[in-house]
């Protein structure tokens, strides 16, 4: 099944991933073909065990597929070695996790600055970029707070600032609102929409929440057994709410 093949930023072909558990082989992704266009905002939905997070991890270079090709902006990351993949992640991908995954001993600003340590920016430039990212998510005044001094919604916004500070073309979010109350979840989703619309970031978001999924431009449904279901366009009106 394909979507927008011509302008595909993400192009998966025959992607297969299996795990061995207790002597049994469990196929999580089964010969998956998928194209996603640049500048898209995709919600990935499906029942537990349908391979949503595994697919996200494979696209983000956190996990490797057993077979198939994973082309992102024309580069097949399935063929990259460890250091190449790490460098690629640093440059191209921003991650937002369900549990926020901020480093507890660092302040909000230091957390946001972390990805910039892998660039050639000077200390001062790193500082300025991180502050800018925090301003974008509305948390510049909380820059010296540690994660334990922030609310869940604020932590996730700091995580989003960290994901976008190095200006990646792709943002991958794994249940970004899963641990948040409705109000905080709305704020985070609004922020992701803004990143997509104003900054043309391609966003792929795994979610169980249909309301969250409606904020994307397209919903990719996955079926049990790691196969692709239907792809549903979300009309502009409902995604704006």
């Amino acid at each position: 099944m394909k979507d927008a093949t011509a302008a595909a930023m993400i192009r998966l072909r025959g992607v297969t991933k299996s795990y061995s558990r207790g002597g049994e082989t469990l196929t999580v992704l089964d010969r998956l073909d998928l194209d996603m266009e640049r500048g898209g905002f995709y919600a990935l939905m499906g029942p537990s065990g349908s391979g949503k997070t595994t697919l996200l991890n494979v696209i983000g270079g956190l996990d490797r597929c057993d077979e198939g090709s994973v082309e992102i902006e024309g580069e097949d990351i399935a063929r990259m070695n460890g250091p190449e993949l790490a460098a690629w992640r640093a440059e191209k991908v921003g991650f937002v996790f369900q549990g926020f995954n901020l480093i507890p001993v660092l302040t909000a600003q230091e957390n946001v600055e972390l990805p910039l340590l892998l660039t050639k920016l000077s200390r001062r430039e790193r500082h300025e970029h991180a502050l800018l990212a925090l301003e974008l998510v509305g948390l510049a005044d909380r820059r010296k707070h540690r994660p334990s001094q922030l609310s869940g919604g604020q932590e996730q916004r700091v995580a989003i600032a960290r994901a976008l500070v190095s200006d990646p073309s792709l943002v991958l979010a794994d249940e970004p609102t899963g641990d948040l109350d409705r109000k905080s979840a709305d704020d985070v989703l609004a922020l992701l929409q803004r990143l997509n619309r104003e900054f043309q970031k391609t966003i792929l978001m795994v979610t169980h929440d249909i309301e969250a999924a409606q904020r994307a431009r397209a919903i990719v449904h996955m079926d049990k057994g790691g196969t692709l279901g239907r792809i549903e366009r979300v009309d502009a009106e409902s995604s704006r709410s």
Binding site: G60, G82, N101, V105, L106, L114, P115, L118
Partner: protein
């Protein structure tokens, strides 16, 4: 690229654990420095022994005295330039706890046989002229506040006086030594004073000679002198043993047991114990950081970077403890000298000892950090991110 701020902040996360580990390391490295310095002090005499001195003692034991009549015979041996008699006096100043070494010796020959001894106060002429005179090592003089011209009363444990009073020695000079073959804690006085005191009944005690120290003339082999001396007294009345000064010093050190081995074993045990303690700390710390390691890897930090974060934490932790231990060992030097300096003359925390301490610190840092660092390096991003914080 290693995020250094993460190294320091993770260490400081559990302040009590951090402080306790640093203090444990400091104590261990301090102990290592002190124990090593004790061994160095014990062996200093061996290392600095003169090649041209031969010690003649009873073959039975160092505590069995030799007859006075051996002196003139030893002077006749080919290659013997001169000799000095030495007799252990075994006294103390005021209280038995104020113990230090005193020897009755031949005053002129003392300086001939031991050219490394020189006076920093007083005069050699005054020492030679007065039978009751003595020269005192600078360390002992400083410890008891003794000055040239003072009377230095020493109670003779081995040579008690008839009325139980002290021997009053006149301090004619304060000496220092250019080499560690002679320590700066000893008091030397006239052999003749001891002899006459025993003859007059002023004091009682053994009247022989503890050891003869021979100076071998240039051009003669000490080994040949030793063989000749051994052969000369083969049939008694006292069979002797002639040894080089280094052998004698080594034998003297071994009389109190194999101290270097004992001390090294204690030091080694302390090091192993502290290594296990730091390893435990590092493993706990690394386990707590598992999820952070996953985050770093997800952000694009390489396996080598996360390895660096963990191993650096270990080095910084050990470095601080080691540095503190080294500073303590160096600062405590005067106190140790004051306390047990007379038992370990020449005690000093030397640069080689400090280098050994630095080496031990680095080794502990490496060994304690390598296992958690390798584990962090090998962790997959997915597994690390699944870890419970």
């Amino acid at each position: 690229m290693i995020p250094f701020t993460l190294v320091t902040k993770n260490l400081a996360k559990h302040k009590l654990r951090f402080v306790l580990t640093v203090l444990s390391l400091a104590v261990a490295i301090f102990l290592l420095c002190v124990l090593r310095s004790l061994v160095v002090a014990l062996n200093a005499g061996v290392a600095d022994a003169a090649a041209n001195r031969v010690i003649v003692q009873s073959r039975v034991s160092l505590f069995v005295q030799l007859p006075q009549s051996y002196g003139p015979k030893l002077a006749q041996v080919d290659g013997v330039e001169c000799f000095a008699r030495w007799n252990w006096f075994g006294g103390y100043y005021q209280d038995p706890s104020n113990f230090f070494a005193q020897f009755a010796t031949d005053p002129k020959e003392l300086f001939d046989v031991y050219p490394e001894i020189y006076l920093v106060e007083g005069s050699k002429a005054d020492f030679l002229a007065n039978r009751k005179a003595c020269v005192v090592g600078a360390e002992t003089a400083a410890k008891y506040g003794v000055r040239v011209g003072d009377t230095f009363p020493i109670i003779g444990a081995l040579y008690p006086t008839a009325d139980g009073s002290a021997w009053d020695f006149q301090v004619a000079g304060i000496y220092r030594s250019k080499k560690k073959s002679v320590d700066e804690n000893t008091l030397f006085f006239h052999y003749e004073f001891l002899e006459k005191s025993l003859e007059s009944g002023f004091a009682s005690g053994p009247s022989g000679v503890g050891i003869f120290v021979l100076k071998v003339a240039p051009g003669f082999q000490p080994v040949e002198v030793m063989s000749e001396v051994d052969a000369m007294f083969e049939n008694g009345p006292q069979v002797v043993q002639a040894t080089s000064e280094s052998e004698f010093q080594a034998q003297f050190v071994s009389m109190v047991g194999n101290v270097p081995l004992l001390v090294s074993s204690i030091g080694g045990g302390v090091m192993i114990a502290i290594l296990l303690a730091v390893l435990n700390t590092m493993l706990m710390s690394a386990r707590e950081q598992t999820r952070d390691i996953g985050v770093l890897k997800a952000l694009g930090f390489t396996d080598g970077s996360v390895f660096g974060v963990l191993i650096l934490q270990s080095f910084v932790l050990c470095g601080l403890g080691g540095l503190l231990g080294i500073v303590l060992a160096k600062m405590s030097e005067p106190a140790v000298v004051k306390g047990i300096g007379s038992m370990f003359p020449g005690y000093q925390v030397t640069n080689p000892t400090l280098l050994e301490a630095v080496g031990a610190t680095a080794a502990i840092g490496f060994l304690a950090g390598i296992a958690p660092a390798l584990r962090a390096r090998a962790l997959s991003v997915i597994d690390a991110l699944r870890a419970v914080r």
